[in-house]
């Protein structure tokens, strides 16, 4: 069957509760611990991360609470109003709303994947999924050949040969400006232009599932079915790059030699030869990450590896032709396998 059409699933299952009708919000707010202890049944029902509020909703009018992130107090009232859709969090007497979905807020040292959207005379503007574009100055990149020298006007004229509009790169957040925008750098052999793979964008650090900051953001998967090695780069900002692993030529590890051998292809936008098997496995990894995000699970090395193993298992259980597609039934059995472990 080429097409599957599903009936809509209820977005949120209302807990089956007999008293749910009489405890409607009489006082216009989610009851909090500081409230009168009249309705213990309701408080017991809510686990703290189930209290969803929408922007404009009054969280409480009790003056004992202090407002935190994601809330607002109108002048001359004591009502704390949510400004984002999310879950209510309480830390002592501080009340904040953690958004369900948020844009990425850069922090120094984050590994990010970005896309060039604008080329200026001495810098690039990079989309990293943050509220404002990040900038990558010409002085913060490695020059081809690994030469260390001052940037001249010739480099400024040739700025598009390094990165041009649409190019993807992996970089590190070097510093932050006052308006929250980030300044990036690629002055390491780990960073630079991306090729030989596919890009995908999921929600980043900040809310719900998605990429989380972890020990390793970049690693290599040994794939099955002759796929060879595949690199995965999980940008903290939720941008993900999955590509064929390229061995360092010559295997020369001398620290001074590496620069010369690698950097001749650092700014190349030409793909190497990639076998169909590798492409299929890249698609499979992409499907796994998509399912993880759909299920609201965190995306990190551990979960992706588990998910990939489960996906291979699900595929091998299926009779007939091997298919890496993870929609519909295959996806459901993958989730079952993941939740079983």
């Amino acid at each position: 069957m080429a097409i599957t059409i599903l009936p809509p699933a209820p977005a949120y299952l209302e807990p089956q509760d007999d008293i749910s009708s009489d405890d409607s919000d009489v006082d216009g707010g989610v009851d909090l611990e500081g409230d009168s202890g009249m309705r213990p049944s309701k408080r017991a029902r809510h686990s703290s991360d189930q209290e969803l509020v929408t922007p404009g909703e009054i969280v409480t009018d009790d003056p004992q609470w202090m407002r935190g992130h994601g809330t607002y107090v109108a002048p001359s009232t004591t009502e704390i109003v949510a400004t984002v859709a999310g879950t209510v969090q309480r830390t002592n007497k501080l009340l904040s709303v953690r958004p369900l979905r948020a844009r990425y807020t850069p922090e120094i040292g984050d590994l990010v994947v970005g896309r060039i959207v604008e080329v200026q005379s001495k810098r690039w503007r990079v989309d990293v999924g943050a509220p404002v574009l990040a900038s990558l100055p010409l002085s913060a990149i490695n020059l081809p050949g690994g030469i260390l020298r001052k940037r001249t006007e010739t480099d400024e004229l040739q700025i598009r040969t390094f990165f041009s509009e649409g190019d993807l790169l992996v970089a590190e957040v070097q510093s932050l400006y006052a308006d929250g925008s980030a300044s990036l750098h690629t002055r390491s052999l780990k960073y630079g232009k991306l090729r030989n793979g596919v890009f995908m964008s999921v929600s980043g650090t900040g809310g719900g599932g998605g990429v989380v900051r972890s020990r390793r953001q970049v690693w290599t998967i040994d794939t099955v079915h002759g796929g060879g090695k595949v690199d995965v780069i999980l940008g903290v900002n939720g941008y993900i790059w999955i590509s064929k692993h390229i061995e360092v030529v010559g295997g020369d590890t001398a620290i001074t030699r590496i620069e010369e051998s690698v950097s001749s292809t650092v700014y190349s936008s030409q793909n190497d030869e990639i076998a169909p098997e590798t492409r299929r496995e890249i698609s499979r990894i992409r499907g796994v990450i998509e399912i993880l995000v759909q299920e609201g699970l965190r995306v990190d090395e551990d979960m992706v590896m588990k998910g990939y193993e489960a996906a291979v298992e699900v595929d091998s259980e299926n009779q007939g032709e091997s298919n890496a597609y993870l929609g519909g039934e295959a996806g459901k059995s993958l989730i079952r396998l993941l939740s079983a472990t």
Binding site: A2, T4, L6, T161, L168, S268, S269, R286
Partner: protein
Amino acid sequence: MAPSSTQQVLLSPAELSYLHTSLSLNPPVRPDARTSSQFRPLIAETDILPGTNGSARICFADGTEAIVGIKAEVEKSRPSYQASADRNVAEDDDDEEDEETRRDEQVAKEKKGLNEWVEMSVEIPGFRDDDSMPVFMAAMLSEALLADGAFTNRLWINRRFHWKLYLDILLLSQPLSYPLPLLSLTTHLALLSTRIPRLKSEEDEDPLFDDDWAASVFLYPRTEALIRPPVTLLVMSVGDNIIFDPTKEELAVAESVLAVSVGERPQEKGQGDMDVDSGKPVRDLRLLAVRTIDPPSRLTPAGVPNTLNTATGGTAAGTTEQASSKRETMEEEGVWQPPRGGAKRKLIAAMIQAVLARGGVAEEVLDGLDAVELG
């Protein structure tokens, strides 16, 4: 040529080259590992708007979502001078026996609907209603609906009155990929669920309707086997591969994109041949319209091969003409080249064939839509 999709997706030459090579393999490797004729699962429901005669909502897996509401209104028909002239002639004729048969013939002739009885409006967020995108969408959808000329006949009440049908098509999300198939499938479901009040008056009286909604009749009655509104599907090609339900990334490397509208031929009773294997009647599909859509891949910048890139040890060409002539004569693997020229005639025929063939994609899509519970 209909305008290409919405916003240009910004992709790097390396990504475009990867996608293009993957999709031109045999079998193609799609970024989400689907087979070439596999659709993403979609979520559909009907009768969601209580104030309309029929409505539907469809949600695609990429997050695009559309709702369609259909409203019917009784309208006075414009007096047709053609018809009245005929009537005068008929009145002059004294022959009494022929009166009855002639009258029947005339009713059959007058039962012909007019295209202006259907009004379609498409709303896409971020576009004005006179932008080319919504206008083209509405034109393509109404073209498919009105192509066989039989649809408007359903709106005929009597010689003086008819139903006027307003189709309001609303895309709720940003147009992430080309929204035409989404809008078409939603319109299809909404038309299937459309009900109009049952007529109580007779002949050319002022129309009087049964006010019991439970007694209302479907615009597409279930008794008429296998007559369904048209669907428009998006088909794209890369190399010799024909790919259905393309995502926005796949559209970005398409060599040609077609919007194929398919309808069903009304079948005479008893003539519908049964499929021997499954025992269900075979759909008699026919092509209503084909439109080419400008593929967004033509607007993408070409990749620079290593030999022409100073940053990778190559030597840049002196002028832009030299650069483009060097690049285009070079058959280098892994460098993105935007497609040039049109699609081959054979390929277009193969794309249409893949949609229409018995057991082909259109049949499966119509079967899938039939299975959606109405109401």
